[in-house]
């Protein structure tokens, strides 16, 4: 649900583009917009720091104990003795230099702290994403438009998957498979075996949503006349599904990809916590407990950047999937005139609506 308006924006921008140059401009605009969103996220975290009850200096220090010298150092580093506007630009300046601040609890720069924990989190998320994607696509393809006894149970499982809180599902897996059955290591193991349960716990909720959206899209696509046409050519049902329907079903799925990315990130935070795994989540929750504000805001910014990049990719993928979203090259035969006529057609009854009732004939 996150990129809908970005898509609208792209439609408006993309369609009026009528040459390679304006396509380039459109790309530039897109990137510019992404930077704008990121800047907004930065501002939000800055505002959060300044709206916080209590002194900013205490927020920065958190629960670490520092000497008065260090305290004075922080005040001058963050320009805390200056007007807030100066502080703001100072903050932006630090960020532009790739400096996310210093975590006094961790005793290291936020960049370093996050960098150290990036790999295990990425591992978990990659495993979860693959699991959710493959599972959802397989389930959707196998159950779309199938009889109730096949479709029903899967639909039910999906809705359960969507509803069960990830952290509790992780606890459930842990209790059953580690504490009771001893099949998998319980705590803290970063081995491949130790990745199984966390990855499953992470994949369940987004996977359930994705399967719902994909099947819905597939069923809608399978009702389209072009599918009937494709079948009337004598091609295999697998070809109908994969070649014709899946492509259309992917569109709504991609629309929620940005939201899914956030779901995976949020899920990873909690699940790392439950399994006591190394990673960003454990770092964040730990930082939160010690009121480590620079660390938390650093993680927030990284996540926002992640989201923005995902959405840029989505924007690029849309036109690949649906040619109707591609910019139109100008025609040689009087483009102004041609476009003119087609605009009118949107305000007058479309000829296709004329035959609308015929389709109901069965």
């Amino acid at each position: 649900m996150t990129i809908a308006l970005a898509a609208d924006e792209r439609r408006a921008g993309g369609f009026t583009a009528s040459s390679a140059r304006s396509i380039g401009l459109a790309v530039l605009r897109r990137v510019g917009y992404a930077v704008g969103v990121l800047w907004g996220a930065v501002t939000v975290t800055f505002a959060a720091l300044h709206l916080k009850s209590g002194g900013i200096i205490d927020a920065i220090i958190g629960q670490a104990t520092v000497s008065p010298e260090v305290r004075a150092q922080i005040i001058s580093d963050y320009a805390l003795d200056r007007p807030w506007l100066v502080q703001y630009f100072d903050y932006l300046g630090h960020l532009l230099r790739g400096d996310l601040g210093h975590s006094y609890n961790q005793g290291m720069d936020v960049t370093t702290a996050i960098g150290d924990q990036l790999a295990p989190s990425f591992e978990l998320m990659a495993a979860g994403v693959v699991l959710a994607l493959v599972g959802a696509i397989v389930v959707a393809l196998l159950t779309a438009n199938r009889p109730r006894w096949i479709r029903g149970p899967f639909a039910f499982l999906e809705i359960v998957g969507v509803s069960v809180p990830a952290f509790w599902f992780a606890i459930l897996l842990l209790t059953v498979f580690s504490f009771q059955l001893h099949w998998f290591p319980a705590i803290g193991s970063n081995s491949v075996r130790g990745l199984v349960l966390p990855a499953i716990a992470l994949a369940v909720a987004p996977g359930g949503t994705l399967a719902q959206v994909l099947r819905d899209g597939l069923e809608r696509a399978l009702d389209e006349p072009f599918v009937t046409t494709a079948r009337s050519r004598g091609i295999r049902e697998t070809a109908v599904l994969v070649r014709h329907a899946l492509r259309h079903a992917l569109m709504p799925a991609i629309t929620i990809a940005g939201w899914l990315a956030g779901a995976f990130l949020g899920g990873a935070i909690v699940i790392e916590n439950v399994f006591s795994r190394q990673g960003l989540g454990t770092l964040t929750v730990g930082g939160l407990g010690r009121r480590d504000f620079p660390l938390v805001s650093g993680v927030v910014l990284i996540a926002a950047a992640f989201y923005v990049v995902i959405n840029l990719i989505i924007d690029a993928v849309y036109p690949l999937l649906d040619p109707r979203l591609r910019p139109v090259a100008p025609t040689t035969s009087g483009p102004a005139n041609a476009a003119a006529a087609s605009i009118t057609s949107t305000t007058s009854p479309s000829p296709s609506a004329t035959g609308a009732d015929q389709e109901g004939d069965r």
């Binding site: 050519r233 009118t344 007058s348």
Partner: protein, 591 residues
């Protein structure tokens, strides 16, 4: 076509089939007592209830019927695509020598495309919008290994050329939305005939098309047929099938009520339903007469005397829309018109001609850039809100799709009463007026508490008319009011409008793309093209002696019931298509 139970084996058919059938006629399709039932949960619907027919090689036959008659399901049963939840039963269902009853899906696939090509209406949705036109055509070629892999691309181009697509190399690389309606339909047909099937089924192949393009597609199908392909044409339009088919089956409620050689069915219909269908077509000879059978009802009287009072006048209307910063579109360009009490002014034009924008200007739903609209002598724009609300009582509107013009939450009772609520008519008065209006539009009281979704298309349009009548307007703007309706329902609605005009003296602005309808209802007519009025005048004069070249082209393209032979294409038409193409090429840009 040799119907099993019928006597009309059609000498005409035989005479139209010269000796191109070595070894006697090959029977492509042999169906006896076909039944199709749909199960939706606990409900069962019998869509087809025992039809029998045969199609021989090289024949051209048509099944004609209205929505829900079962004609599409019958056609789809022949390719095993009757639809989800369909149970197909038949005493005999033989497709090109194969018994197709209980045929496994795998065997169906060898028949589809190879033995029977299938064309659905409106290629915009019948071709996969995400795939190139060429790939869609190649799919048929590859599925049946018609030509070696290496030659597929060349064959695609060849096929496109065969169906009359100009610049086939370029077109094959384009997507459906980049082509005009006519070219799209041609490409769809190319994909259906790619494996050279002996039978081509076309389900409403021209329904979504403008009349000039329709004529071209029909000519193409006729050419296909002359080349030896058998045709099964499914249509709601008798005039369309009469151009191409030599044998017609009339279908109603899942059975054939009548069949025979086309001329015979058209000239001497035996079944009352066929007669009713023919009478319902608003063609020249039916002008000013009743289209629908209404026992006991008076035949529409001669029109009420046209009064002198001008109830609606528009002067030099111009309306432009900004496309993007630089370009603008002139949707309505210097349009003037006058409407007198009790008369009907027809506005005719193809899609994109600006007729609907003109209607919106008349209704003050859109404000013109320049020019004035006066209703009952008062111009929109120079008046305050309250006066304007009162003025709106005098001019009402009926839309093409009544359902979308009703608040989805409202029951019929509330829809019809809404205009009265605007003028604060008392609750009791409203109730009596609603009942009175129901009577006027021929609806029973049982619809009062139903939602529009539960009504049929005709009933919905009657509700819309009742709502428009409620404030006793002087003018009703009808924007394609019958375009979405079946011909017999269309006939009833047109008759109703005529009766109401005769009784209440309402003036209509009647907008339609359908020349037959316009001719039937109008006193005077405006022909619009690209936002301009290209011709106007008394309806008889315009239709009998069209002065503008565009009007002549439009009239020539209209399929009529008389003259089964397709007229030779008019010369200027050749230029229409490429032009239309460039229009559609940019359609995506603003859609």
């Amino acid at each position: 076509m040799t119907p099993d139970s019928g006597t009309a084996t059609g000498s005409g058919t035989a005479s139209l089939e010269p000796a191109v059938r070595p070894g006697g006629s090959r029977t492509l399709v042999d169906v006896a007592n076909l039944h199709v039932r749909f199960r939706l949960g606990r409900r069962a619907v019998d869509a087809v209830r025992g039809v029998s027919f045969q199609i021989d090689a090289g024949q051209s036959i048509a099944v004609v019927g209205e929505s829900g008659s079962g004609k599409s399901v019958t056609a789809r049963s022949l390719v095993g695509l009757a639809g989800r939840g369909a149970e197909v039963r038949a005493d005999r269902l033989v497709i090109d020598g194969t018994d197709a009853r209980a045929l496994p899906e795998r065997r169906w696939r060898t028949l589809r495309g190879r033995h029977i090509g299938f064309v659905l209406q409106d290629a915009l949705v019948s071709l996969d919008p995400a795939r190139r036109v060429g790939a869609e055509i190649a799919e048929t070629l590859r599925a049946h290994r018609v030509v070696p892999r290496a030659e597929v691309d060349a064959r695609v181009i060849e096929l496109l050329r065969e169906v009359g697509v100009p610049e086939p190399e370029a077109r094959a690389g384009q997507y459906p939305h980049q082509l005009s309606g006519g070219l799209r339909q041609r490409a769809l047909i190319a994909s259906a005939i790619a494996a050279d099937p002996a039978l081509l089924i076309a389900d409403e192949p021209t329904t979504a098309l403008d009349v000039t393009v329709q004529a071209q597609i029909l000519e193409m199908l006729a050419a296909r047929r002359r080349a030896g392909t058998a045709l099964l044409l499914i249509s709601h339009d008798l005039a369309v099938v009469s151009q191409v088919a030599d044998h017609v089956f009339v279908m109603k409620d899942g059975v054939f009520v009548e069949h025979g050689p086309t001329r015979q069915v058209l000239d001497d219909p035996q079944h009352s339903y066929t007669r009713q269908l023919l009478a319902a077509v608003p063609v020249a000879h039916a002008r000013g007469t009743r289209l629908s059978p209404q026992p006991g009802g008076p035949v529409a009287q001669p029109r009420a005397v046209v009064g002198d009072g001008v109830v609606l006048a528009a002067r030099n209307l111009v309306k432009t829309f900004a496309l993007d910063g630089r370009r603008t579109l002139i949707a309505v360009d210097d349009v003037s018109l006058e409407l007198r009490a009790g008369e009907t002014l027809g506005i005719v034009g193809e899609s994109g001609s600006g007729k609907t924008t003109a209607a919106r200007l008349l209704l003050d739903l859109e404000r013109a850039d320049s020019g004035t609209v006066e209703v009952d002598g008062t111009a929109w724009g120079e008046i305050d809100v309250r006066t304007s609300a009162r003025l709106r009582q005098h001019i009402q509107v009926i839309y093409q799709d009544p359902l979308s013009s009703f608040d989805p939450r409202y029951p019929v009772r509330k829809i019809i009463a809404e205009p009265l609520a605007v003028t604060r008519v008392s609750r009791a008065e409203r109730r009596t007026r609603v009942l009175e209006l129901l009577d006027q539009v021929g609806l029973g009281r049982d619809v009062l508490d139903r939602r529009p979704r539960q009504l049929s298309g005709g009933q919905r349009q009657r509700v819309a008319i009742a709502r428009a009548l409620a404030p006793r307007p002087r003018v009703i703007v009808c924007d394609e009011p019958v375009s979405a309706l079946d011909v017999s329902i269309q006939a009833q609605i047109l008759d109703l409008l005529a009766d109401l005009q005769a009784r209440l003296g309402i003036a209509y602005v009647f907008i339609s793309h359908h020349l037959g309808v316009i001719y039937h209802v109008s006193d005077r007519v405006l022909v619009m093209k690209d936002g301009r009025i290209v011709e106007s005048g008394d309806v008889e004069r315009v239709f009998r002696e069209p002065r503008h070249e565009y009007t002549r082209g439009l009239l020539a393209a209209v399929p009529t019931l008389d003259g089964a032979a397709l007229r030779p294409p008019v010369e200027p038409r050749a230029t229409v298509e490429p032009q239309a193409t460039s229009v559609a090429d940019n359609e995506g840009a603003v859609a």
